[in-house]
């Protein structure tokens, strides 16, 4: 397979796509946000339960491509225990990684496992898939009640 593709569809991404973590509706969530990518039909809900300013639990459910699902799955894993501010800071890091120039380095220290999405920037039409869950999560932190789109 083409090396760019190998980079995009890494083992870890395919694993999260197949067995998404925290893939469930959360009845006692403190907030729910909806994200939709009209171009490709990725559609998900992100559920957040805040306690004492920290994300006690976060989950998602919905339908989407491998990239959007894996991104949502890994996001939910990494956000538990973080404050709203920390979650937003991480969102900014993810956004910078996805929109960076291919040849510029990735801050693996800050991003940790999320660095597996570094190859997505080679696929401009897929950046929206990888960022949808993150945009939706940010809406969930400070809900305006609007559906989030990455258009």
């Amino acid at each position: 397979m083409n090396p760019d593709l190998q980079d995009l569809y890494q083992q870890m991404i395919m694993d999260h796509n197949k067995n998404p973590r925290n893939f469930r509706v959360m009845p006692d969530a403190t907030s729910v946000a909806e994200g939709f990518n009209p171009l490709c039909g990725d559609h998900l809900h992100v559920y957040i339960k805040m306690k004492n300013g920290r994300i006690e639990d976060v989950s998602f459910e919905g339908d989407g491509c491998a990239i959007s699902k894996a991104s949502a799955s890994m996001m939910t894993g990494i956000l538990k225990g973080k404050t709203g501010g920390e979650a937003k800071a991480l969102f900014e890091e993810v956004r910078a990684m996805l929109s960076r120039d291919v040849n510029s380095p990735v801050d693996t220290e800050k991003l940790g496992k999320l660095a597996v999405f570094a190859g997505v920037c080679e696929f401009p039409s897929r950046v929206k898939c990888a960022s949808l869950a993150w945009h939706t999560m940010v809406e969930g932190l400070e809900p305006t009640g609007k559906q989030v789109t990455t258009e």
Partner: protein
Amino acid sequence: MSPLDVIKIREDFPVLRERVYGKPLIYLDNAATTQKPRAVIETIDRFYSRENANIHRGVFCLSEKATQCYEGARHKVKVFLGAASDKEIVFVRGATEAINLVAATWGRAFLKAGDEVLITHMEHHSNIVPWQMLRDEKGIRLKVAPVNDSGELIMEEFRKLLTGKVRLVSVVHVSNALGTINPVGEIIRLAHEQGARVLVDGAQAVAHRAVNVRELDADFYVLSGHKLFAPTGIGVLYGKEELLEKMPPYQGGGDMIRSVTFDQTIYNRIPYKFEAGTPHIAGVIGLGAAVDYLREIGLDKIAAYEHELLEYGTKKLMEVPGLRLIGTAEKKAAVLSFVLGEAHAHDIGTILDRSGIAIRAGHHCAMPLMRRFNVPATTRASFAFYNTKEEIDLLAEALREVTEVFK
């Protein structure tokens, strides 16, 4: 009928020599837009290089020539569609604008609260939304005829829905998402028996089979030039003369008037009444060139060849493990819409792209239809007469690669 010489035809389309990611381009998104033959590109180039002027106004040589070319193209389209007169050919931006024109003029003038417009479950958004807008404005009812699991219109249900209250049936000739060819001749006959008018959305039909609007007895027939090997931004509304005559104008402005005072305006005759402002002159002339090009090759020959591609492609794709075709109508155009195991259409699209294969992943502007088939999206390969069986082999091979990734 001699078979189509596809090798020679491919030479007519410069873009087919392109490479993407180092691979030869395999263009299988013809339902979205078709590529342009040199005949069209050169006609437009010549127009802008040597003939450009505005039409219907200048008294100088170039303007008269441009007017002739423009009206000459109208006549070519008239012959191409089998219309009764050039007056029945209205130039618009595309199929979308043509449908909106009918809704905004004929619909506004002649439909009233309680009247019904009947469409089908396989319509493109452009044949749904204009009628919803009219519904919200006028209080008409919009009814939807269902399709079966193969993606065919259920004629029995259609007949039941076709009550005396239906004033217009607006139906797609060939479905862009499924490839289904609707029995428009029969639909028109049934509708006329009930006193309803019929608009046929021919966007996906005219590039692939011979269409004769008079034989069909269509009241309106719409198409987009860019799906017919012509430029974007140009399309056609065919309307029966008697209907166009009675319809109020669409937009106001230059060209659509005969005389204007501040008290009163006298509208121009048809089709100019519907062509306000300077039109897409080069587009129209390019469309004329495309129609000439198709006539030379012969649409019957094209239809026969594309049917071969459809049969070959259907067989090849069915051999890919986990692939399920969406749209298996008995009468089909060369469109293969499918889902593949757990792989999402968008991932398939990305993987095929790196093999140089351009296909469409998504809802194909037919979200209600996707819902009907319980899929968020499909992957769609749609063919034209410059595609080959070798390209289908490469598509099937690339799809196997997808199944490897999504094992």
